[in-house]
């Protein structure tokens, strides 16, 4: 069991999906029960792995399971975790578990909905645990289809447009990734990601075994691979200028799906860079780190600035994601231990805080059936408990000291400031603008929705109910706890982060 625990976490939702498909359409409560169980068991297992099975002090990949899969091309079923992926696996199982009760208000075609949700979890967890590039790609693509239908069938008025845009953008990125994977496979003879990283460390992954001898159109093989992979992942993050699918998808998706999109799917991009892009072409990464940092800063400032101009509550939160994920890229590019830890931490913290924000939007949308920030006012008087939770969520997103977002953003910025490249200091200065904008749009939104004169239309709104509190509570608790005790994440990540920074700086690992 212990050596297969990651496979169980990945595939239990698939068993859940099979069960759901076998149940009749009318047995909705049974379907919900199966979904709860099929997401709860992976959460329990992931928690067990996090606190029990995983050994903290090492950067090694753990709980590795390696089986030959397609022998003709040397693809393996190889899964395992290290400090970088484990927290994201746990976050995935948590958010999917929350996603089930958060979906209870959805009435249309419940059977298909929960079946697709289960399939989505398989794809996401699969990406986080894959150590074989072929397997990684298969999982990467498996999650697209359920996402397409989840947005396209259960989404808002412009759902068809949003769903296909999401699918096309992601696929455009991932086919370039596939070309890179093919080239890497031909050059190295392996799909094994740790082996590829090791080859790259020894400087043996240069495309010398390919026709053309590692050069194409005057550019080096590694440069091509780097940009192809980076764009594939950057679309997912999303980094400016690849972000335009995100506001559409987030706004049109039903609440639980927005939660999963913002909470986890965006992290796949950042995680992909750390696992399967930067360490495989470290030289190219160093060459272009500064360009990445600039993209990161643009995302931070631009995302926050555009959020300031939104009148749609959900769209505002969506753009705040662009801004927050910009820190991740900036932290990576800084190539310091603080920057890298901060960025990895930021991914987790954004996963909890943005998920909480989308749930908050969902609560009010379910009641008022619109999300116009200017259409409310004085809701604090009718829904004081809701207001309290929102305040906590907003402050976590702003990055108030004592809450999780503060730790990760501060670490990222300090790490970037410490970067070997002095120009980063300027970038850090510019990106503080993002913090100001973020505070501005969130506080302004709070003022428009909750403070001021009560809009008489909404005097009768019911207070947030127990189910909604149950969904939000774990996320907000995490925001608080990790603001005070961030080492519950950092200690787990640190050896892997150190190892990665050494690898990427070209030193001896």
């Amino acid at each position: 069991m212990e050596s297969q625990v990651l496979s169980w976490i990945t595939f239990i939702p698939l068993i859940g999906m099979a069960l759901i498909l076998l149940l009749p359409k009318s047995a909705l409560s049974a379907i919900k029960g199966v979904s709860l169980a099929a997401t709860a068991i992976p959460l329990v297992l992931a928690t067990w792995v996090y606190f029990g099975l995983f050994a903290k002090g090492t950067a090694d990949l753990q709980l590795v399971q390696d089986l030959p899969w397609i022998t003709a091309i040397g693809a393996h079923y190889k899964v395992g975790v290290d400090g970088l992926s484990l927290n994201l696996v746990w976050l995935t199982t948590l958010l999917l578990f929350i996603g089930v009760p958060a979906s209870f208000s959805i009435e249309k075609a419940g059977k298909a909905y929960y079946a697709l949700l289960m399939l989505l979890e398989v794809g996401i967890v699969g990406v986080f645990v894959s150590l074989d590039y072929f397997l990684f790609y298969v999982f990467w693509e498996v999650m697209l289809l359920p996402m397409y239908f989840l947005i396209g069938i259960w989404g808002g008025p412009r759902r068809e447009y949003a769903a296909i845009k999401f699918f096309l953008y992601t696929l455009a990125g991932s086919v370039l990734m596939l070309v890179s994977i093919v080239a890497l496979r031909l050059d190295s003879g392996t799909f094994d990601i740790p082996t590829l990283v090791e080859l790259a460390r020894q400087g043996r992954l240069t495309g010398a075994n390919l026709p053309g001898g590692g050069e194409l159109l005057g550019l080096q093989f590694t440069t091509w691979v780097f940009w192809f992979l980076f764009v594939g992942f950057a679309i997912k993050v999303p980094v400016w200028p690849f972000h335009t699918w995100l506001p559409d998808a987030h706004v049109e998706a039903p609440t639980p799906i927005s939660v999963i999109l913002a909470g986890i799917l965006l992290k796949l991009g950042g995680y992909g860079m750390l696992r399967a892009c930067f360490p495989i072409v470290p030289d190219a990464f160093r060459t272009f780190a500064f360009a990445l940092a600039i993209l990161g800063v643009i995302s931070i400032v631009y995302g926050a600035f555009v959020a300031l101009g939104q009148t749609d509550f959900k769209k505002m939160v969506a753009y705040s994601s662009v801004s927050h994920m910009g820190y991740v890229l900036l932290g990576f590019a800084a190539l310091t231990e603080w920057g890298m830890s901060g960025a990895a931490l930021q991914m987790f913290n954004h996963g909890t805080s943005s998920a909480a924000l989308f749930l908050i939007v969902g609560v009010i949308y379910d009641r008022a059936h619109h999300r116009d920030l200017n259409g409310f006012g004085g809701l604090a008087q009718v829904m004081p408990r809701y207001w309290a939770l929102t305040t906590l969520g907003f402050f976590a997103a702003i990055g108030l000291p004592g809450l999780a977002g503060f730790v990760s953003e501060a670490m990222t910025l300090v790490g970037a400031y410490d970067s070997a490249n002095p120009t980063f200091k300027v970038l850090v200065l510019i990106s503080t603008l993002g913090i100001v904008f973020t505070a501005a749009f969130l506080l302004w939104a709070m003022q428009r929705v909750f403070l001021g004169k009560l809009n008489p239309k909404y005097a009768e709104l019911s207070e947030i109910n127990a189910r909604e509190v149950f969904c939000q509570a774990p996320l907000l608790i995490l925001c608080v706890v990790l603001g005070i005790l961030p080492w519950y994440l950092l200690d787990w990540m640190q050896p892997s982060v150190q190892n990665l920074v050494t690898l990427l700086s070209g030193g001896q690992g």
């Binding site: 397609i70 003709a72 075609a109 298969v138 397409y148 396209g152 069938i153 070309v179 496979r185």
Partner: protein
């Protein structure tokens, strides 16, 4: 009769079985006077099963040539089994298609079996004369099949277009063949590739050294004929009209069996002339130029096919353009001019078999339900006929090339060979093309599932739905467990030894 003759007959037993089946079908159809076409269909299926059994019996024998022109080898075996499977599938579709009943479907089986016999000789001959004969037998049967709805203008128009384009391209091809004959003094491909000495027959390599232009012209002309058969640009214009006008089972036959036959013959032609073990170095070098030409054709074909498919309102026409695009993908494998490239192309063809047959089966089913082939008419049918609609999504994924399906694995193999052959630009174009194709394939999924549920009731068609579902399961399972198909494609390359 002498022993060699009997041995030769033994080599073409599957062809004989097929011919006997065709004759039996004709007689039975005459005896029942076209009243009981189902019985004719089952007879055809039984004959096909017997042929398949004979083909399996030949499997694993060492390659040989009988009667001096028919190669009995695993490569031919691959395409013959492919054809038998495709014709069998189309027969199942015919059995299920209620709308075809009124057209006296007995002859359908006869014509299709005739076409299959043509394909059998086409893919197994090393002699260009027999190749043309096989091709013509296939073409003539296909023309009549396309015009089968005698009273229907679209069908008649399709047949007419098909005849004109087909006649023209066969003419071009024959002219190329006559040039090749004039240059080398032989119609046998292996002699063209490897004859020694200065007398006749003369090797193409000798001729190439003397004057390259006529050789190039002859090859381009022959390739044009093949390009027509596989509907590659710029000889693809007939495809959408013919595919749309022909009855759907016939379209299925044209898109799957006829196209694969074109690829089979082309692979043998290229393999024997440029890739096989015995060819002279000058020809192998020249082959890489032909490869580049094919790469260009491939890029143009897939791009044109995909871009045109985006705008189609009819699912049938959309599938026609998509089949053009897929011919472009398969050509990647051919332009590698290597054994691995060829085997990747053959793997992709078997993937194409599964997913395209499935998609056409779906089309047939919904034509029966809605009486129309427009994508709009599928709106909201996902909840009315959930099983076949979900299976269709698997085909769409596979056609796009998304894992875990055969289509993805096939594309992966093609990409690997393309990059390995130094055609990375082509691979990037193909990769971007799959993004375009996703857009139009998703329109089908969108109509099925994203629109509000339809009121129309779906007719139960257990045989058809069951068959299509089986294809769908194979599409996914063989995409995860890829060994059988890949091993089959690789072992079928004995023609290159």
């Amino acid at each position: 009769m002498n022993q060699a003759y009997i041995d030769g007959l033994r080599g073409i037993l599957p062809e004989i079985a097929l011919t006997v089946t065709a004759l039996a079908v004709m007689v039975l159809d005459l005896l029942t006077r076209g009243r009981d076409s189902r019985r004719v269909g089952w007879l055809a299926l039984a004959g096909l099963a017997a042929t398949a059994w004979l083909l399996f019996a030949q499997w694993g024998n060492s390659p040989r040539t009988v009667f001096g022109m028919v190669a009995v080898d695993a490569f031919g075996n691959f395409f013959k089994l492919f054809t038998v499977a495709a014709v069998a599938a189309v027969s199942v579709y015919l059995l299920c298609d209620r709308r075809e009943r009124k057209h006296g479907v007995g002859e359908y089986y006869l014509l299709m079996l005739g076409a299959a016999i043509g394909i059998f000789f086409m893919v197994s001959t090393t002699n260009l004369l027999l190749l043309v004969l096989g091709l013509e037998l296939l073409s003539l049967s296909s023309y009549s099949l396309a015009g089968f709805h005698k009273g229907d203008r679209r069908s008649a128009e399709a047949a007419m277009k098909y005849v004109i384009f087909g006649g023209l391209s066969t003419g071009i091809m024959l002219y190329g063949i006559s040039l090749l004959y004039g240059l080398t003094g032989t119609l046998d491909l292996s002699l063209m590739a490897g004859a020694a000495g200065d007398g006749l027959p003369r090797s193409l390599a000798t001729q190439l050294a003397a004057s390259p232009v006529p050789v190039g012209v002859a090859l381009v002309l022959v390739l044009s004929g093949f390009a027509y058969k596989i509907s590659a640009a710029p000889f693809h214009f007939w495809t959408p009209d013919v595919y749309e006008g022909a009855p759907t089972p016939v379209t299925t036959f044209l898109a799957v069996a006829s196209k694969a036959a074109g690829f089979g013959a082309l692979l043998r032609f290229l393999g024997a002339l440029f890739v096989a073990g015995g060819v002279q170095q000058a020809l192998a070098d020249y082959g890489s130029r032909i490869g580049l030409l094919l790469a260009l054709i491939s890029a143009v074909t897939m791009t044109l096919g995909n871009l045109a498919a985006v705008r189609q309102a009819s699912l049938k026409r959309l599938l026609a353009y998509s089949s053009i695009a897929h011919a472009g993908y398969v050509l990647i494998g051919l332009s590698c001019m290597s054994a691995q490239g060829f085997s990747a192309a053959m793997y992709y063809l078997s993937a194409y078999y599964l997913m395209n047959l499935g998609a056409f089966g779906f089309l047939l089913y919904f034509e029966g339900v809605t009486g129309s082939d427009s994508i709009d008419s599928l709106k909201g049918m996902g909840s009315r006929a959930p099983l076949i609609s979900i299976v269709m999504v698997a085909f769409l994924l596979s056609l796009t090339g998304l894992p875990p399906t055969v289509g993805f694995y096939g594309k992966y193999l093609l990409f690997v060979q393309g990059v390995d052959a130094g055609l990375i630009w082509l691979v990037v174009i193909a990769a971007l093309n799959s993004v375009v194709s996703l857009f139009y394939y998703l329109r089908v999924a969108k109509a099925l599932f994203l629109a509000s549920p339809s009121e129309r009731a779906a007719a139960p068609q257990p045989l058809l739905v069951g068959f299509v579902t089986a294809l769908g399961i194979a599409t996914v399972v063989l995409g995860i467990y890829t060994l059988p198909l890949q091993a089959w494609a690789e072992r079928s390359l004995d023609l290159l030894q």
